[in-house]
């Protein structure tokens, strides 16, 4: 605690303030510069008149809404909608399944509890890049039974993502669940509450921060996934942002840097909004519980 004594002069107080607190503001400015400069560049590139990389090296050399207008000539908005639907559903499913699993691991004692928790985490480490052959064949067989789960179905893609819903999510939540004192549910149990009632009515409201965090992480994961989405969603109007926007800059014969930048600015908005909306939970949710594994 900084306790200033009456004997100190204002000058020493200032230098003390500077040494203890003040320097943190310029540092914050520096970090902000590091964090934001690429983003400033994207905004500048998205506003550039001509959509080429070499033409955007000078920041805000020209301001034009061209690139944003051109987004309307592409399937960009349907990609946004797809991404939001797929991301939202996956986040919702991942939160529910993860929370249920974490509850089981946290509150019940059963054989192989630790081992299964670790196995869940380790299974997630399987490199998916080559598994696309298997994913593809699986969805073809499922698609013959019900097209809803076949290739080019967003439902199928959501299911594939949900296949990875346990694992790291469960682990993150597990720690948090453990931090909720057992006495709370024990007293409810004495009052005659069932395990389901304890889960839904007592635990879930208490763990909201970690639910928000897991939901956000799942959403960001879907947002950034490229390989699975590219393999499963074959038709253009079903694409996600990652698949569609990659095409703008990867295609050998197209120079769409400006379009990409404009798309990137628009696409990062939902994530940013989510971040800001959930911010009060995020800091508390990420590790608060894992102190007690």
């Amino acid at each position: 605690m900084a306790i200033s004594r009456a004997t100190k002069t204002p000058a020493t107080r200032l230098s003390r303030w500077w040494a203890e607190v003040g320097w943190k503001y310029p540092l914050a400015l520096l970090v902000f510069f590091y964090a934001a400069s690429p983003l400033v560049y994207v905004v500048s590139a998205s506003l550039a008149q001509r959509g080429t990389l070499a033409g955007t090296a000078r920041l805000f050399a020209s301001i034009s809404p061209n690139n944003y207008e051109n987004l309307n000539n592409t399937a960009f908005w349907s990609w946004v909608v797809n991404t939001l639907i797929i991301g939202g559903s996956t986040a919702f499913g991942a939160v529910l399944m993860g929370a249920a699993a974490a509850y089981a691991f946290s509150r019940f004692r059963f054989r192989g509890r630790r081992t299964s928790l670790t196995s869940l985490l380790i299974i997630q480490m399987f490199p998916q890049t080559v598994a696309f052959v298997a994913v593809f064949l699986l969805l073809i067989s499922l698609g013959r039974v019900t097209p809803l789960l076949g290739i080019n179905s967003t439902v199928a893609l959501i299911c594939v993502y949900l296949g990875g819903a346990l694992g790291a999510n469960t682990f993150l939540m597990f720690g948090f669940f453990n931090s909720i004192p057992k006495e709370i549910d024990e007293s409810a149990k004495i009052d005659g509450a069932t395990h389901a009632q304890i889960f839904w009515k007592i635990i879930m409201p208490l763990v909201t921060p970690v639910l928000a965090v897991v939901g956000l992480l799942a959403f960001i994961g879907v947002f950034g996934d490229f390989i699975l989405a590219r393999i499963i969603l074959t038709s253009e109007h079903n694409w996600t942002l990652a698949v569609g926007m990659y095409q703008w800059v990867s295609a050998e014969l197209s120079a769409n840097w400006g379009l990409f930048a404009a798309g990137a600015v628009v696409a990062s908005l939902p994530v940013l909004v989510l971040f800001l909306a959930l911010q009060k939970y995020i800091v508390g949710g990420l590790t608060a519980g894992s102190v007690k594994g």
Partner: protein
């Protein structure tokens, strides 16, 4: 160069064939399957890339109206079509038809994913070279629609319309123009053997040795002193030398430098012209100048349609291609959607009056067909990487010879 003559002769001969042949005897009468046909359950899936989607969609609309079948167009990156077709056709999930480049034929045949095509008497409507390009071991595997090649594109306001005869002439004129660079070419971080191939062949170093009839053997032809001479030249003009070739220049940057007038010459294909004219550059198209003394022979690629060997709609697929795509209107629409040299003779003649198209045709007459043997698939990786390495300053001779050795090991 044998091939040059063959290609040139073919383009000229095509005009004669056109006048001699007034159309096929077998006139398919698809119209008698009027709109009353209940064919709604049948779907024909076609893979296209973004450029050609509108044109194929137009042809598909007519086909749908007349046959009642539904055409599903699936849009993909052109680069992904080849691998996806090979991977997905055996699973039964592939398309009935895909757009593709002729040099995929060998890989498709080896993978067993492609059906033969027989366009019968309509063959006379197409450039023979285009049909030859899609032929493999005597069978036709694709319906061609366009030829494509790259050429020297120059900024008329800076260097006029005259074609430079040699690389040195071009550089001299380019330097005199006083721009940032006398000449700009796409190399990119990964290398681009395709774009530089004209210079390479002018040193007499083709990728694969050709037989007398123009077909390729699997013997690598770019080793030896000619290949090393090219590599050395590349190094001299690379980033350790005078810097005309740079791995920092990728397609995007190449486009913007030329559009801004920062370089008066570049080597590009017809697909790039739109960007230049949009930027207000006055362009002329000429054959690629020689760097090593021989004719600069760029690759000529042919684009067309393949039918899947596992298609459940083989009859409709053929009907679509032969009756609805192999027509002048459809071919013209394809040209309008994606302006490459038409493979359909009548359309080629319509558009040849355009000086830009004529420039590309002139360049194609110098060109050689891109090999369609399956070994070509292995070449790009090694070849492009070696080019990028040499341009960025690696020792030309050892890098090049190492690449040849690796390539020979990979395809043996």
């Amino acid at each position: 160069m044998r091939n040059t003559i063959a290609w040139g002769a073919a383009v000229v001969a095509s005009a004669l064939i056109l006048s001699a042949c007034g159309g096929g005897t077998a006139e398919p009468t698809s119209t008698d399957a009027g709109p009353g046909v209940d064919n709604s359950g049948i779907e024909l899936t076609i893979w296209v890339d973004a450029n050609r989607e509108p044109a194929v969609a137009a042809a598909a609309q007519l086909f749908e109206a007349e046959t009642g079948a539904t055409v599903v167009l699936v849009q993909k990156n052109f680069e992904d079509l080849r691998t996806d077709f090979i991977a997905q056709v055996p699973t039964g999930e592939g398309p009935d038809i895909t757009i593709g480049a002729h040099d995929w034929t060998g890989a498709f045949v080896t993978a067993g994913v492609v059906n033969t095509v027989d366009i019968g008497d309509k063959a006379a409507d197409f450039e023979q070279v285009a049909l030859d390009a899609f032929s493999y071991d005597g069978q036709l595997y694709g319906l061609p629609y366009a030829l494509e090649t790259i050429a020297l594109i120059q900024n008329v306001d800076l260097v006029g319309t005259d074609a430079p005869a040699t690389f040195e002439d071009m550089i001299a004129t380019g330097l005199a123009a006083g721009t940032d660079r006398p000449f700009v070419i796409n190399v990119g971080a990964g290398g681009d053997g395709y774009t530089s191939y004209g210079f390479q062949t002018s040193f007499g170093a083709p990728v694969f040795v050709q037989e007398a009839d123009g077909s390729y053997t699997s013997e690598v032809g770019m080793g030896g002193p000619d290949g090393v001479a090219f590599a050395t030249w590349l190094s001299e003009n690379g980033m350790a030398g005078n810097g005309y070739f740079s791995t920092d220049v990728d397609y995007d940057i190449n486009q913007s430098l030329f559009s801004e007038g920062a370089a008066p010459y570049t080597i590009q294909g017809p697909w790039a012209i739109g960007t230049y004219t949009d930027a207000g550059v006055n362009v002329a198209v000429n054959p690629i100048p020689s760097a090593g003394g021989g004719t600069a022979a760029p690759f000529v690629g042919v684009q067309g349609f393949y039918v899947s060997s596992q298609s459940q709609n083989t009859l409709l697929a053929n009907e679509f291609l032969i009756t609805y795509i192999a027509t002048e209107e459809a071919q013209r629409a394809l040209y309008d959607a994606d302006p490459r040299i038409p493979a359909y003779i009548a359309v080629a003649e319509q558009v040849a009056s355009d000086p830009i198209v004529a420039g590309f045709i002139a360049s194609a007459q110098n060109g050689v067909p891109m090999p369609s043997i399956p070994e070509m698939g292995s070449v790009w990786d090694f070849w492009n990487a070696a080019e990028a390495a040499i341009v960025s300053g690696a020792d030309p001779e050892s890098t090049w010879l190492q690449m040849i050795a690796d390539l020979e090991a990979a395809i043996s």
